[in-house]
């Protein structure tokens, strides 16, 4: 995934494009994150002004939801499922392996800024777990070897 460096003018344009939607806050935050890979602090007052809400309100929304990052992610994002159905086929062990392999904890990014590891509670792929979304692409039936292979592909 390729993200733009933070750019207030581009952010203003994105905010403007979504501001007239009903309940525009989440659509704006998603659009910003999609473009920049995270939601920059500077965006908060800009959104507040566009939607005629307080900064505190927007800040509250950004921090309430697990999806929104406050710092740029690595070039690739691996969202690993932690929920029960995946647990029943080894997701806990897989998560431990993934953390060791990448040298990060949840939400951490590898030293080379390549890969960010995020937890997720269910991807609706529960019949063939353990599951993950790698840069938005679904993968299932993961084990340690399949995880390592996927990571090697991201680093290639």
């Amino acid at each position: 995934m390729k993200y733009e460096p933070w750019d207030p003018a581009l952010a203003a344009e994105i905010i403007g494009r979504h501001a007239s939607l009903d309940g525009a806050t989440l659509p704006i935050l998603h659009a910003l994150q999609e473009t920049f890979g995270y939601v920059d602090r500077e965006a908060v007052p800009m959104i507040a002004e566009a939607l005629n809400l307080s900064r505190a309100e927007i800040h509250g929304v950004v921090t309430f939801y697990h999806d929104f990052r406050s710092a740029p992610a690595g070039r690739h994002v691996v969202k690993l499922c932690r929920a029960e159905a995946c647990q029943s086929v080894g997701a806990v062990e897989l998560a431990d392996h993934a953390k060791r392999r990448l040298g990060v904890d949840w939400h951490g990014t590898t030293f080379d800024s390549r890969i960010t590891l995020e937890p997720v509670f269910c991807l609706g792929l529960c019949a063939c777990g353990p599951a993950a979304l790698i840069d938005g692409e679904p993968v299932s039936g993961l084990d340690a070897a399949a995880f390592d292979a996927a990571v090697a592909e991201l680093r290639a």
């Binding site: 989440l26 309430f64 159905a85 647990q87 609706g124 529960c126 019949a127 679904p138």
Partner: protein, 522 residues
């Protein structure tokens, strides 16, 4: 021109369906075969995915699971003429897993092109809306439609099982300048994927159901709130809305009736609590997803303070079938007060995971053993969690419990959204109880103390138990915490977390007594 159907359901894609589609296209071109590849949803037989179907003169013939490396040999075997091959499974409808089902809500899923309104209509779609529009032309038309939904016995498929017709009737009777229909597509429960499958495989049935709901109660605008963990469902649903609008099924004059109904999709942002309907409404309004106190009901004061129908994907997507076939035909399925069918979802440690739509009432064992084929690991089954993270863990001894709302509740369980998660004997039930508290602590909206603080205390206390620190005293504390959470929580997040915890404790006490007891003084 031979049509080849390859699923683009997210589960099928996770198993390689996109690669298979590309390889089929490549090999067909190489051999000069003129084929059209149609990307469908999934039939829900996931152990056979990617399952590719070939259209022959009299039937579709399925092959699966297809790997990209199988494609050349499939062409060599003459699959375009239904030729023999080790992975040929024959007519999908004759596979026992599918043949034994009653597909009403999922009748078209995996069969049709999800983005073609024409294909939808060719397979019986929009018959329900047509009848709805006819009924609207008669006096008391709206009441008659709501009565039809009431008479079907349809209860909310999101978990709580509230009668859908009664909810609609409240919204119909509410006076307002604007009303809304909101579809809850947050499907946060682990072990569930029916909403996802339907949105990816037959999105027009949801669009039609919401349109009928809107016309029935006088709402002109609808929103579908889809969790961000479902990027594929979000794209398909958004594209299907555009296609339906273009074809005149949505917009200022639905099917030329002069009546308006429009739809928009919205993306959640990774918060389980936003599946709770009032939290979802706050989220849709652009706020933090805090649970609201009820009353007022969303049916009276919902989205932006206006009367709002909030229904699960499957509740809404079942309405077209009911309107097309009549309330009685639907109510004839099921048992007791659980009428119609439920889309059960077989997940976790299961040999044949997938979607099984059946009339209410089969015993849990039938689903797991006859459909699911037992555990995937081949080891003995030890526990089953039904109804998502807030559902109880059942031991072997309770597997004969029939799957209907009341019978399941009588055994301390919850059918919920129909997710069935199987665990083999490697499971540590103390760890599962701990996870239930941990999940609640992570996902609580934070409004009430018992839920917010109690769940964190729960994690710490279970840790003490498993470390062998005063286990009896701490287990008593776990039970006390559960009681406080049950009694003092505003919504089912805090209120039902005790269900998995206590069922683990009651049915599997040995797992909580593994550590050698330490002295209290240590």
């Amino acid at each position: 021109m031979i049509r080849i159907f390859v699923p683009k359901d997210a589960q099928a894609v996770a198993l390689g369906a996109d690669k298979v589609a590309r390889e089929v296209e490549r090999v067909a071109a190489e051999r000069g075969e003129t084929v059209t590849i149609v990307r469908t949803g999934s039939r829900g037989l996931f152990w056979l995915e990617p399952m590719v179907e070939i259209e022959t003169a009299d039937a579709r013939i399925a092959y699966g699971p297809v790997k990209p490396t199988d494609v050349v040999s499939l062409f060599n075997a003459g699959w375009l003429a239904a030729g023999e091959h080790p992975i040929r499974v024959g007519r999908p409808e004759e596979i026992p897993y599918l043949a034994r089902q009653t597909r009403l809500t999922f009748a078209r899923c995996g069969l049709v092109d999800p983005l073609s309104p024409d294909d939808y209509v060719a397979h019986g779609g929009y018959a329900g809306l047509k009848r709805t529009l006819e009924m609207l032309g008669r006096p008391e038309g709206q009441t008659a439609i709501v009565d039809e939904v009431k008479a079907s016995g349809l209860r909310g498929r999101g978990g709580a099982g509230f009668p859908t017709g009664i909810k609609w009737s409240t919204v119909l009777l509410a006076e307002a300048d604007q009303k809304y229909v909101v579809c809850n597509a947050d499907e946060g429960d682990s072990g569930t994927f029916a909403d996802r499958m339907l949105m990816e495989g037959d999105p027009f049935s949801l669009i039609e159901g919401m349109t009928i709901a809107g016309l029935a109660v006088g709402a002109t605008k609808g929103f579908i709130y889809i969790r961000s963990e479902y990027p594929h469902a979000f794209r398909t649903m958004t594209d299907a809305i555009a296609a339906a609008t273009k074809a005149g099924y949505l917009g200022s004059s639905v099917m030329g009736s002069g009546r308006a109904f429009t739809l928009e999709t919205r993306l959640g942002a990774g918060a389980y609590i936003c599946g709770e309907e009032t939290s979802l409404l706050d989220s849709l309004e652009g706020k933090r997803g805090m649970v609201r106190a009820k009353p007022p009901l969303p049916a009276i004061k919902g989205l932006f303070g206006k009367p709002t129908i909030v229904n699960n994907v499957l509740s809404l997507a079942t309405v077209p079938w009911i309107m097309a076939n009549g309330a009685k035909a639907y109510a004839d399925f099921g048992i007791g007060r659980s009428r119609g069918t439920l889309a059960f979802q077989l997940a976790g440690n299961i040999a044949r995971g997938g979607l099984v739509e059946l009339p209410f009432g089969p015993p849990l064992r039938e689903l797991i053993e006859e459909f699911g084929g037992g555990t995937r690991s081949g080891r003995p089954l030890r526990a089953v969690q039904v109804g998502g993270p807030l559902g109880a863990y059942f031991p072997q001894e309770l597997l004969d419990t029939p799957l209907d709302y009341e019978a399941f509740a009588a055994k301390g369980g919850m059918v919920g959204h129909g997710g069935i998660v199987v665990f083999d004997d490697a499971v540590d039930m103390a760890a599962q109880a701990r996870f239930a508290f941990e999940f609640c602590a992570a996902e609580s909206c934070g409004k009430c103390t018992p839920c917010r603080i109690g769940s964190t205390r729960g994690v710490e206390t279970i840790d003490k138990v498993t470390a062998g620190i005063e286990p009896e005293k701490n287990l008593t504390l776990v039970r006390d915490l559960c009681e406080v959470m049950t009694d003092g929580s505003l919504c089912a997040m805090g209120g039902l977390t005790p269900l998995p915890v206590l069922s683990a404790l009651n049915h599997f006490p040995e797992d909580f007594r593994r550590a050698p007891a330490l002295m209290a003084a240590e």
